[in-house]
């Protein structure tokens, strides 16, 4: 649903209209232009009531359900930053909200924003510092159980082939573009060739690079399939993590 008001989106670099998804006991807001996640809020009991309304009923930011006036319960300024981990999100308040919602709907309720931990992620990056940063980002947010670091393309292809041969396909590959031995796009093409030959589905690829995503790059992403791009230098470093999570949500569904 579209919310009233705007909020600054670091990806778009401007004040943007907000979309919001009422999921479980949470309201997940995002930029209406680029889809970047901008905040998360635990629902109150009246908000849970809103969530349990019949399917298909229109949802507005300001509305009056069942004759009881309900003030808009989310404004851009009231958005709390998302909790760092799934565990920290399950506060007493949210657990109560989930319980109420589960009782109301008779269905299992999974809080929006809860993190699905990926079993294995490969990070291919020639900079040891950036490999460490990426590893920290993935592990501190419980996004990945295992992070395999590779410092160049051939080292990754070797490890990737070995993992596939052992039946241990990674759930995500984070790829730099400019690397000394092989360009990241070539690495991805080789990766796709190996996947095709071994009869496995395309592993999601997240290009995390300083290279500008121009038209040829977009065409390369399209040809590779199941691939997204985030520019390292885009946005405030403090929100870069959020941006990555938002892209991962679309790419591999790390949030449910």
């Amino acid at each position: 649903m579209r919310l009233e008001g705007t909020r600054y989106c670091p990806s778009c670099g401007q004040d943007v209209p907000l979309d919001a998804d009422l999921q479980g006991a949470y309201l997940l807001t995002s930029c209406a232009l680029c889809g970047l996640g901008l905040g998360l809020k635990v629902a109150t009991s009246s908000e849970v009531e809103l969530a349990s309304r019949p399917k298909g009923a229109a949802v507005q930011a300001r509305m009056t359900p069942a004759g009881a006036p309900v003030q808009a319960w989310v404004t851009p300024g009231s958005l709390a930053p998302p909790p760092a981990t799934a565990e920290s999100m399950l506060s007493t308040q949210s657990m109560q909200a989930i319980q109420i919602l589960a009782q109301t709907t008779g269905q299992e309720v999974v809080p929006a924003g809860a993190v699905r931990q990926m079993r294995s992620v490969f990070v291919v990056e020639d900079s040891a510092f950036l490999r460490q940063v990426t590893r920290d980002l993935l592990t501190s947010r419980s996004l990945a159980k295992e992070v395999v670091e590779c410092d160049d393309g051939p080292a990754f292809i070797e490890a990737f082939v070995r993992a596939l041969a052992a039946g241990q396909k990674p759930e995500l590959v984070v790829l730099d573009v400019r690397m000394p031995e092989m360009d990241g796009r070539d690495v991805a093409r080789a990766m796709r060739a190996v996947e095709e030959a071994m009869g496995v589905k395309r592993t999601p690829i997240l290009f995390f690079s300083g290279v500008l995503c121009d038209e040829p790059f977009k065409a390369a992403l399209e040809a590779l399939g199941n691939a997204k791009y985030i520019r390292k230098t885009d946005g405030d470093p403090s929100v870069l993590g959020e941006r990555i999570v938002a892209v991962l949500e679309r790419l591999v569904g790390v949030k449910r």
């Binding site: 051939p154 070797e158 080789a190 796709r192 060739a193 190996v194 030959a197 071994m198």
Partner: protein, 145 residues
């Protein structure tokens, strides 16, 4: 383990076709499998390995679509290590002379040789010479098939 096909990825499709026909006439010569680009060649290699017939000889051009010869060769070597497969002999058959970059690539790949493609030679003669070179390479590798 039985030997697999000879793989070739070359920008000149006519050359690949003529070479395939020439090698077919030779007794006990492995079949030639052509790939239009480096990524397809890599896929063919992995497929052949999984079929239990890893290629002993791979021929690559440098100028290839999708994945150029350099990236193809490096990917191939990486895939071989990942599959715990002995490295195939690599023949770079290119119009380019052996530059320092190419020499460094040969050294990096190991078990690799470069053969400069002759210019102004009729295709039939070029293919004949290349077939002889392939035969010699396979002989050095220990028998044909």
């Amino acid at each position: 383990m039985p030997h697999g096909p000879i793989l070739i990825a070359h920008a000149d499709g006519g050359l690949v076709e003529a070479l395939g026909a020439s090698l077919r006439d030779q007794p006990a010569m492995p079949p030639l499998v052509g790939a239009g680009d480096g990524a397809t060649l890599l896929a063919e290699y992995v497929r052949a390995h999984r079929a239990g017939t890893p290629p002993r000889l791979v021929i690559v051009d440098l100028a290839l679509p999708r994945l150029d010869g350099r990236a193809t060769a490096l990917s191939l070597r990486a895939a071989e290590r990942g599959l715990a497969s002995p490295p195939a002999a690599l023949l770079f058959y290119t119009a380019e002379a052996a530059t320092d970059d190419l020499k460094a690539l040969l050294s990096r790949c190991g078990r690799a040789v470069h053969l400069q493609r002759p210019t102004a030679l009729p295709l039939a003669e070029e293919v004949r010479r290349l077939a002889v070179a392939i035969e010699k390479l396979l002989a050095q590798l220990g028998g044909r098939a």
